[in-house]
Amino acid sequence: MTTRTGIVHEIAARRAADLERDLAGRSRTELERLAAAAPPPRPIAERLAEPGLHLIAEIKRASPSAGAIAADTDPIARARAYEAGGAAAISVLCEPHWFGGSVDDLVAVRGAVSVPVVAKEFVVDRRQLPLLRAAGADVVLLLAVLHPARRLASLVRAALDLGLEPLVEAHDAGELERALATDARLVGVNNRDLRTLEVDPERAVRLRDAIPGDRLAVAESGVRDAAVLAGWRAVGYDAALVGEALMRSPDPRATAASFVAAGRMPADPAASDRVPFVKICGVTDEAGALAAVRAGADAIGLNLAPGTPRELSLAEAAGLAAVVRAAATPGHRPQIVAITVDADAEALRAIVAAVDPDAIQLHGDESPGQAAAAGRPVWRAIRVPVGATPDDVGPILDEASVWSAAGAERILLDASGGPHPGGTGRRIDPAVAAAVAREVPVLLAGGLDPTSVSDAVLAVPAIGVDVAGGAERPREPGVRPVKDPLRVALFVKRARAARWDRPQSPARPTPVPAGLLEADATGRWGIDRAFGGRYVPETLVAALVQLEDAYAAVRDDPRFWSEFRELLGRFAGRPTPLYRADRWAADALARARASGGSADHRAGDGGADREPLPSRLRVYLKREDLAHTGAHKINNALGQALLTRRLGKTRVIAETGAGQHGVATATACALLGIPCVVYMGAEDVERQAPNVSRMRSLGAEVIPVTSGSATLKDAINEAMRDWVTNVATTHYVLGSAMGPHPYPTIVRDLQRVIGDEAAAQLAFVEGRLPDLVLACVGGGSNAIGLLSRFIGEPSVRLALAEAAGDGIPTGRHAAALLGGSPGILHGARSLMLQDADGQVVEAHSLSAGLDYPGVGPQIAALYEAGRLEVAAATDAEAVEAVEWVTRTEGILPALETAHAFAVLPRLLARTDRPAQDGWSPFIAPWPEEAIVLVGLSGRGDKDLAAIARWEAAVAAGAAR
């Protein structure tokens, strides 16, 4: 117990003295009778268990830290304004001496609003509880700092007995431990130390993980603006209690509304694509079924297995199915799944007839051959022994693939070992579950509950989760278990929130070698880890290690990704549209036919590299040209500018070729107020004059680089030299997914939003994955950003278009994949253009953004593994494609992007086969209706002058 000094104990002592006076002669029975006569309490827990962070808005006339805030406020008007702004509850200060509050205020507010009211009181005597309930309080604050553990627990029980929902507030780990030892469902963390009144704005964030997921977590104090609330939402708080910031607002309704908005789950197609499917299994009563529907569960399991604890009769199951159908919003109804164990054909027919389920879950020793006889789509539960180790996954994977082949719609992994199939309440070793879930799509079951589900979906790339016992009320012997509606709601909420602000968490199987997906600890990529690494002067190692450490923390920090998303949305215009380019697609297909591809899908006799073309083609363009500054580069620049702030660095440098990355970085720096220096090859400064003006307008210093070939590679050299010299104060915002570890990972992570969004958008309009994903590639940031989401999808072909310049055979090109060899450039081993001496060979491309002699290491690894098809377009072909796309679609693409358009007809006709054979099992025939996703990386206005010059030069050459 801490020493009883400080302002909070002073207040408590004064309150105790007040009570001696006010409660003299009043018996507990009398007080409890008053409480019982009060109107019934308004529930708060279910509201806070809904998605997002909810606002508890406080009425506080004064405080010991701030003095008088709004002494003569009208509590009724203010409470109504809060409610109109969307507050989930109103908190009313009842303490008179320091806070100017009163129980009269509480009574007035309770009568004026319909949301629950929190009594913000210093409870020192349990007789206060019935008094507050009698005044209408629905929730009561209990301060852990004032009470030893046993008294705190008994106050909580006393409050619950009265129907008062206790909110137990802690401010440090010790108090939190006492709070969690009580039965309180609402646990608060106050950033303010009530003994000293000091505010530590990070305290609530630090302590969030100490609060189990089956409690409702409330953060308090230190709200400067709505962004604080967005951060609390991202780290998993269910509510924020805000006082002073609202009391000082001249327009409390508007301020409350802005805080409520900041707490909502932000719209994000890419995030929704990571959300796991949630099944609430073993529902046994109407309340449980309704809770699952209300929480938005994707499926409800009704157990028809005889002899199991949650067994329902056919009539009961039919009744619950009817409840679900009646309660659900059309189009959002949870699937109804009948759980069976070794049921015979007759029993299954009876179940289908009575319950009419959407699926039958086979949970016993059924054979795959029985799947067809079930009469409904089959879900198969594969039982995994609790003691299984990652070495045991082989048979599990075999079983899963046999069932998938037999037509099972979903596969569940459930822990076995108890007396009944399923429902053991025990968990599968996460390493085993992860090893299976990396290979096949599974729902994870067994021992999950609202507290464990978040960690489980972060550790295991399962596509869904299943809960039974973990969402129930405490078991009573001999009584059929029933769901706890709050635990059901919290399970769904925690499962859905876990990956929302963690875009790097795998959410589905990725059955490809790990080295194609992530770098190892030394930054190496590839099946043999042959690419990447960190080849830099010793001076830079410390900075790269610092960056690596800082980024490792950021990668797991939902607040970073939440802030990043918010900037991408509010500032950069994300999500960018996914546009279906029908006129161009028809033209492209016609060109493919003309180039020799077969139009007859069934013929299949066109020779080794002449396979049938699709009959229909839909091409979707991911419109990064519509992102702010006109290209995908802004994604990386904003992310790294945020990272610069985290690193505590005060200056940014960048390199740029075409100027797009320079403009994006200058823009991000202008937004965040960071001085910015951009290195640009002198030749590019000349070629891209408009972008130089843009950068200078944005306040960046543009330094022309005259060394070497005076292009992008030399700009990178010069930026590295600057970094070597100014490393203590400067962050180098590298523009592509290349360079020394950890840059390829950082830039890929910041750009993967392109493909994550596109996959979700495509699923929305087409309901499936694309057949081919195509991007242009220079260093590779837009390419890897688009491709990342699809690397682990075996049905999706991946293709890149390189710049062939004057043609690869001329040696004047920028095709590091098709025309390069392994080497070390700009800090990493990859594929590059070089001579026999290891001298870097200048790249040649009219497109400044592709005019680079190297490529990022992950792309080199994908190419060498055979996971990529690579084609190349010459300057002439790219220029022609710019006009082609512009005239057919009204979209002027960047010259870089045009390389992708130029090669698509060839890819359709498959005259560009993968150059490397070996590992890739991915080549499948085109379907009748093919879907191609093309990354439209940027807009082409910037290139018009260069194209005009090029065309004039070509015409002059032809005239000679």
Binding site: G533, E538, R721, V724, G823, I824, H826, Q839
Partner: protein, 271 residues
């Protein structure tokens, strides 16, 4: 050829200088700058003026650790036809003409390792008479395979430590460096400087305390006064590069000026 002991020859050269009560002087000559013949004469002049070891720069297209002087020298050498083969032939001629002074070429990772482990290059360097090699953008983190290849042919792999290198890492890098350890005096690229950072004394003492091999200080060392200051730090040697390239004059042919500076630097090593 008999088995070579590059690391031993290098440490012996440092030991002889120390026995004579002075710093070892390691001048730097860019192979092929401004042309092959002049750089050969410059190398011999440096040795004859008192070099204890000679560092030979292998011209590279993208020398990102180098400042303006060495970038320009590299580019000129390449423009005048420098290739790795010719640089190696030049080394061989220097070694034949002045067999007692160890030669330590300096290059970049892609020239020496590239897409492989560097074994062929290490052998070629050793065959040309090099005792060790410095790779500007190679640290022990990535250097394992190249070290093995170099060891097999008796070639020392010299690593660098910088002011930004943490104390823990310093010991690790020193333990991996053979022949000597290259102590980078400042946070920055190569290039002549008017003065050395005040922190260099502390840095050298810290590095020397953990290094099992001799410690030579480079980057920014330009004048006899700098050499005298470095001698006071307890270093074993001093490396002078950009200032000597500057001393060759704008067209790279002022061998007299070059020799005067080497002589002055050598005189300063004894203070």
């Amino acid at each position: 050829m008999t088995a070579r002991d590059g690391p031993g020859r290098i440490t012996d050269a440092f030991a002889s200088a120390r026995a004579a009560g002075r710093l070892a002087l390691v001048p730097y000559v860019v192979a092929g700058y401004p042309d092959e013949a002049t750089s050969f004469r410059a190398a011999l002049a440096a040795i004859d003026a008192g070099a204890d070891l000679l560092e030979g720069g292998l011209p590279y297209s993208d020398p990102l650790a180098d400042g303006a002087t060495l970038q320009r020298a590299s580019a000129t050498a390449l423009a005048n036809g420098a290739t790795l083969e010719r640089s190696l032939a030049l080394l061989e001629r220097i070694a034949a003409a002045r067999p007692t002074v160890p030669l330590v070429p300096m290059g970049y990772a892609n020239q020496l390792i590239g897409g492989g482990d560097g074994a062929a290059r290490a052998r070629a360097l050793a065959d040309a008479g090099a005792s060790g090699v410095i790779v500007a953008d190679l640290t022990p983190d990535e250097g394992g395979p190249f070290e093995r290849a170099a060891r097999a042919v008796g070639l020392a792999v010299v690593y660098l430590v910088a002011p930004t290198t943490t104390a823990e890492r310093r010991s690790w890098v020193a333990s991996r460096s053979s022949g000597f350890l290259y102590c980078v005096s400042l946070v920055g690229v190569t290039g002549a400087r008017a003065s050395l950072p005040a922190s260099v004394g502390r840095l050298v003492r810290d590095v020397r305390a953990v290094s099992p091999v001799p410690v030579a200080v480079g980057f920014g060392v330009s004048r006899p006064a700098h050499v005298r200051a470095i001698a006071r730090t307890g270093a074993d040697g001093v490396i002078v590069a950009s200032a000597l390239v500057d001393a060759l004059g704008p067209d790279g042919t002022d061998l007299a000026g070059f020799t005067r500076l080497v002589t002055a630097l050598r005189d300063a090593t004894a203070s």
